[in-house]
Assembly symmetry: C2
Homo-oligomer: 226 residues x 2
């Protein structure tokens, strides 16, 4: 590797390649219910994890681990932890919004054949990390970049991904024997899908509409509500 050219003109993307990247970005969905039971071949799963592993990371720290969960009994247990937390969550909404919340399916833990818990080892390369000196959360953010890489690669492979965030951290930690020093960043459900929504499910189901992009762009300084 040392003798290879390390800095070279960027391999340009053809128009079709560029469109493929945008297709992944625009048609990616947070899948909760469209999972098929078909198993994920090991080589496909490995491609997804390798895509995750090629995310940017602060100081090239690569703080992530991927705990792959397949056993139905274990997914049932994790679903019960979700279910308890989801009861608590529903209680935080009131009136019509609570009724609407209860109608939403918010996870595919039992239906998706593969689940992945993505963690962040805050001390992976020591205590002082290049680029993390002034923002201690940069390693968590790197781990999120890994999840987004996996998500887009999965879309290209025809695999749906759902990110479950409704569980008590302590429950997940206990069920997967994750040490206190390791942060749990995301819990993903993966599987082939028979269908995808044309727009985000929460928009279709009337929970929240997409905001106009133009309102979110500012020039030179914060231009929103003070």
């Amino acid at each position: 590797m040392q003798n290879q050219t390390v800095l070279a003109p960027p391999d340009p993307f053809s128009e079709k390649e560029r469109q493929a990247v945008y297709k992944a970005i625009y048609t990616r969905r947070d899948v909760r219910d469209q999972f098929l039971p078909d198993p994920l071949p090991d080589e496909v799963l490995l491609r997804l994890l390798d895509a995750a592993h090629h995310a940017p990371s602060v100081g090239f720290m690569q703080p992530w681990n991927f705990i792959v969960i397949r056993a139905q009994s274990q997914r049932d247990e994790i679903w019960r932890a979700f279910s308890r937390a989801n009861e608590e969550a529903a209680g935080m909404f009131s009136g019509a919004r609570r009724a609407q919340y209860r109608k939403l399916k918010l996870e595919g833990i039992r239906k998706a054949p593969v689940n992945i818990c993505v963690t962040c080892d805050r001390q992976r390369t020591g205590k002082v990390v290049l680029g993390r000196t002034h923002n201690s959360d940069m390693d968590l953010y790197s781990t999120v970049c890994a999840i987004q890489n996996l998500w887009l690669a999965a879309r290209a492979e025809g695999i749906g991904v759902g990110w479950v965030s409704i569980y008590r951290d302590a429950d997940m930690r206990r069920l997967l024997q994750i040490p206190e020093r390791i942060a749990i960043v995301g819990y993903l459900c993966l599987g082939y899908v028979d269908a995808l929504y044309s727009r985000p499910e929460l928009a279709i189901k009337g929970w929240q509409e997409r905001l106009p992009l133009r309102d979110l762009i500012f020039e030179g300084k914060w231009q929103g509500q003070p």
Copy 2:
């Protein structure tokens, strides 16, 4: 839109489309020095921001804003804030590592024609957010997903992106007039590039090597150091 089919078989990716997505993932780099002065056309910048805007977000909260910074004088000011913080950062490393740190170029603030500060409005859709009830940082993570979408779309457009994380939050907040209730998630440098590294720059420069993926994958539970 209401009469359109909302749930349909996923548009499959051809082998070439799939390869294009992986090409973006594998050849994306954190660019610090290879920026060209060529301006970014508005329509291209808008495509990148629209890609970011199509990231997943907790409860479809879309908590992000994009502050676009172009003026040289403003980028100079922000560079000075980086520079002060970078002196502090260098002091946190010792011996040979500090000397090595000082040799690295860690930002392209003045060289890249466009900078973007990406923020997160923690109250965008109210205090109780679907999916954020048990992990209050989910909105920050959504914002990171937006950054990673932008980064991959930029690679497909031939545009390099560098994520600068070495600055004091208070400095950035003051320079861009960002209110306290808004979180600053990332500061990005964007521009066309004349070259890209074949591997991560920090690996090529001997700071940190890529870890073997196999060591990062666990089955069913945490299997690393307790």
